[in-house]
């Protein structure tokens, strides 16, 4: 149970959710976000769990085995997308580590946190902490996870409890009600904006891990008597619960301390929202310094455990292709260090990557649905989802969601987005050098898809290991 709760807390909830909800209209965003929990994330998490549990292979091997060798590239896309996120995620994990160090030595005092962020983000120090975070994750995957698992089981629930305490404190600050109003005031007209739906889907996938391949990789090591549907629902609702708490925590603090902050927290450039404002919340609390150390310690652990899962995911693909564990982990480390460097040194680049590969999770979700259709969604439901160990049998509604609703959601959102985007910036919507344009998404996705299709025969032909499970 603790492990499941542990999966419910991460930087996706605490770093990403508050800034995305701030940039996308608060209340109206929450409508789309909660809709996608039920109509996107939970059904796809069930697919991921059952793929991993059935195939006992990484994403490429699982798609190859269950959907046919010609579908191996679909699993390749899932892994590529997760790897691309990993490259900048290690930068964010490095930020958490740096803030832990700063909290310990008392460098983060109230309003000074703004200047601290400005001096740190995008600097050489940020590259150094990216390297440290990635090295720690590589070390854990290299040497084994036993010790870390025990510590994470204490620290991640601690983070959960801290977020609850901090949200309560934030709500009771004078003026915090403006934050609640901003977060929960529904603007129904805004639901006609495709960007809100696109970001809501992306954020829900970020919160829950739906479509990343992480759950599939975790499920490789599941015991056969472990349940699939209840775990998927629990992780989905648990993650969204923590995100909502984090949104309340950050936005109430922002509006209580600086009522005119709305223009500062909306849009590009708000990557540091949580890092700038949380130290200011701790400043308003008795014993805030101690709480701050615990908060960044636990946040660092949450970030590192997620980073470890990403390294394991990518390494697993290489291991399925025949490499030894240490060889695979070394390659992931070196490539991650190099390709994470631009995000470490430029917030604009990190923003671009978060946009391109965040939206890429929508394509990953579509590919999972297509893979399940090829295997037979109903067959998957009967044989794996409702098979051995099932605590919460699910009906044919899930088959309908995966086979019909998820693909329709992805296709409609994609077409709607392309159609609307032409009108936003007629001159520049296809410019691939702008951080948040359609052009940058199309160019980067095309490069990845062409590479994967070129490798398709190799991906589908590579011998995969006979047995799942951790190598000795």
């Amino acid at each position: 149970m603790l492990a499941t709760l542990g999966m419910a807390v991460g930087t996706g909830n605490i770093w990403r959710f508050p800034r995305i909800v701030a940039s996308n209209g608060g209340g109206s965003f929450l409508v789309a976000w909660a809709t996608f929990l039920l109509l996107w994330s939970v059904p796809l998490m069930i697919v991921e769990f059952s793929f991993g549990k059935r195939a006992r292979k990484g994403t490429v091997g699982a798609f190859s085995l269950l959907a046919g060798r010609k579908s191996a590239w679909l699993g390749g896309w899932v892994a590529f997308c997760a790897a691309a996120i990993m490259f900048y995620y290690s930068v964010v994990a490095g930020w958490c580590l740096r803030y832990l160090g700063a909290a310990v030595v008392g460098q983060l005092r109230g309003s000074e946190s703004d200047a601290f962020w400005a001096g740190f983000a995008g600097s050489g120090s940020a590259w150094l902490t990216h390297a440290v975070a990635l090295s720690l994750a590589i070390g854990v995957v290299w040497f084994g996870v036993q010790g870390i698992e025990r510590v994470a089981k204490v620290l991640i629930p601690t983070l959960f409890v801290l977020v609850v305490i901090l949200a309560i404190r934030a709500v009771t600050l004078p003026g915090a009600v403006a934050g609640l109003e901003f977060l929960f005031k529904p603007d129904w007209a805004a639901l006609g904006d495709v960007r809100i739906w696109l970001q809501a889907l992306t954020q829900n996938a970020w919160d829950t891990g739906a479509g990343w391949g992480l759950i599939l990789t975790y499920a490789i090591y599941m015991k056969s008597k472990e349940d699939v549907p209840l775990n998927a629902f629990l992780i989905g609702f648990g993650n969204n619960s923590v995100s909502l708490l984090a949104g309340i925590m950050v936005l109430c603090t922002v509006f209580a301390i600086n009522p005119g902050a709305k223009s500062e927290i909306v849009g590009a450039g708000n990557e540091g929202l949580t890092f700038i404002w949380m130290p200011q919340l701790f400043d308003q609390m008795p014993g805030g310094q101690v709480f701050m150390v615990f908060f960044f310690l636990a946040l660092s652990f949450a970030a590192l455990t997620s980073l470890i899962s990403m390294v394991e995911l990518v390494a697993r693909i290489l291991m399925d292709a025949g490499l030894g564990r240490r060889q695979a982990v070394s390659i992931v480390g070196l490539v991650g260090l190099a390709l994470g460097t631009p995000s470490a040194l430029s917030l604009a680049f990190l923003h671009n990557q978060d946009w391109v590969w965040g939206v890429g999770l929508m394509l990953s979700g579509l590919f999972y649905a297509l893979g399940a259709r090829k295997f037979g969604v109903e067959k998957l439901r009967r044989e794996v989802v409702n098979g051995e160990g099932c605590d919460l049998p699910i009906g044919r509604w899930w088959t309908f969601l995966v086979a019909v609703v998820v693909p329709i959601e992805a296709v409609i959102l994609m077409i709607w987005w392309l159609w609307e985007a032409r009108g936003w910036n007629p001159e520049s919507w296809l410019n691939p050098f702008l951080p948040e344009s359609v052009g940058t998404v199309i160019v980067q996705w095309t490069v990845a898809l062409v590479a994967l299709l070129a490798l398709q025969r190799w991906l589908g032909r590579r011998p995969v290991a006979e047995e799942g499970g951790l190598d000795p």
């Binding site: 149970m1 499941t4 209340g27 929450l30 909660a34 929990l37 009600v177 609640l180 109003e181 977060l183 929960f184 005031k185 529904p186 008597k225 349940d227 209840l230 775990n231 629902f233 629990l234 609702f237 648990g238 969204n240 619960s241 909502l244 605590d391 919460l392």
Partner: protein
């Protein structure tokens, strides 16, 4: 805080947090049942 924001907050929080608590209770019961059977 406007009435619509309060109403909307109650709906969203009940759905997300209420759903999580119900699922957690269900999961704890299932784990206990499985442990007894083991």
């Amino acid at each position: 805080m406007s009435g619509s924001a309060v109403a909307f907050m109650i709906v969203v929080c009940t759905f997300v947090w209420g759903g999580f608590v119900l699922l957690l209770v269900r999961a704890i019961r299932s784990e206990r049942r499985k442990s007894r059977n083991d």
